[in-house]
């Protein structure tokens, strides 16, 4: 397993791996996304209180989950990379960061668009919204750090440490709605008793969440390949 992971870092081996996996991932993403979109936007019934406006959760919630998911994965890979010095680890985190930042921004924007009619405001500084905004700054900070340090070794190290330190924000985001009074509603699905979303709305939501994860996998492989190609062509990008 360790040897295989080390081998994977060599571009020919990685390219073979991507060529094998990518068509399946992309196909799975496209299928789930098409079905998920139709199911959530057309087939799922309107909400008893919010009417059609609630449908934004089918984008907002999967994007929010993914924004946390990507960060946890990045930090774990960074920690493993830091201890065992995998060549591919910095490539993985560098490729993930823009995706994570994009999904965090999507979460904030869709939440804001939903908040205006439903809550009556675009933005409030409650604990959930603020901690999610900090997540966006963590992603942007990591990207900025990658672009400022020219020495490859120290760039990788500084980036990994930033990612690992930032992990404290993840439980804060998740539990913010329980620890403090917030305007944001508490969790509907990620809780121990049964979800408070009706199955007719829950299933398309879960399908969308799976589809978003598959998109992340697809885009991640492509982005990693890009970085490795750049490195091969002589640029010292993320080497």
């Amino acid at each position: 397993m360790w040897n295989w992971l080390h081998q994977l870092a060599s571009p020919p081996c990685f390219n073979r791996f991507v060529a094998m996996l990518l068509p399946w991932l992309a196909a799975a993403w496209l299928t789930t996304f098409m079905i998920g979109l139709w199911w959530s936007l057309v087939k799922a019934p309107a909400d008893y209180q919010q009417g059609e406006g609630y449908r934004i959760i089918f984008i907002h919630v999967p994007a929010a989950w993914l924004s946390l998911f990507i960060y946890v994965v990045m930090a774990s890979v960074a920690a493993i990379g830091l201890v065992w010095k995998f060549k591919l680890a910095p490539v993985f985190t560098a490729a993930s960061a823009p995706l994570g930042a994009a999904f965090t921004a999507l979460t904030l924007v869709t939440g804001s668009v939903w908040g205006k009619p439903m809550w009556g405001t675009w933005w409030v500084w409650d604990a959930r919204l603020t901690s999610e905004l900090i997540l966006l700054f963590l992603y942007l900070g990591y990207i900025a750090l990658q672009n400022t340090i020219s020495d490859v070794r120290s760039r990788n190290q500084a980036g990994a440490i930033l990612l690992i330190v930032g992990v404290v924000n993840i439980p804060i985001i998740h539990y913010s709605v329980e620890w403090w009074n917030t305007l944001h509603q508490p969790a509907s699905i990620m809780k121990f008793d049964s979800p408070s979303v009706h199955p007719q709305m829950l299933y398309p939501l879960l399908l969308m969440a799976i589809s978003f994860k598959l998109f992340y996998g697809t885009a991640l492989l492509l982005a990693m390949q890009c970085i490795l190609w750049q490195r091969q062509r002589g640029g010292n990008e993320y080497a």
Binding site: P45, G53, I164, W179, T182, P186, S188
Partner: protein
Amino acid sequence: MTERQKRRLILLTVLVFGIGSATALMLYAFQQNLLFFLTPTQVAAGQAPEARAFRLGGMVQDGSVERQEGIAVQFRVTDFAQEVLVEYDGILPDLFREGQGVVVRGQFRQNVFYADEVLAKHDENYMPLEVKDALEAAKTLTTE
């Protein structure tokens, strides 16, 4: 695992625990400031700041909403233990209704809360209208 790898792993673990506990202590210390709103019980206990705006959160009490001249409105915010009379002159959000959660910002003077902003707090329940109607029907059946 080599000696170097072990050392790096220990260093990393210490770092994560250190940062984690520092953050936990900090958040604990700022607990009060991180509250987005106070509850009617806290207001009744005199925890509300005087002559300074703060937010009050709770449920709009059933049957308490009274329309007044123009768009002015008066209602009671309750947490089922205490309640506060709120006056507001402005546009209410879509989700505002009796029995729903609200967060109002304003000042508390002589036992009346003068709001200058009313936000609706959505609960975590999502269901189709038919299900809601069925639930209501079941509830009236059991109470009758």
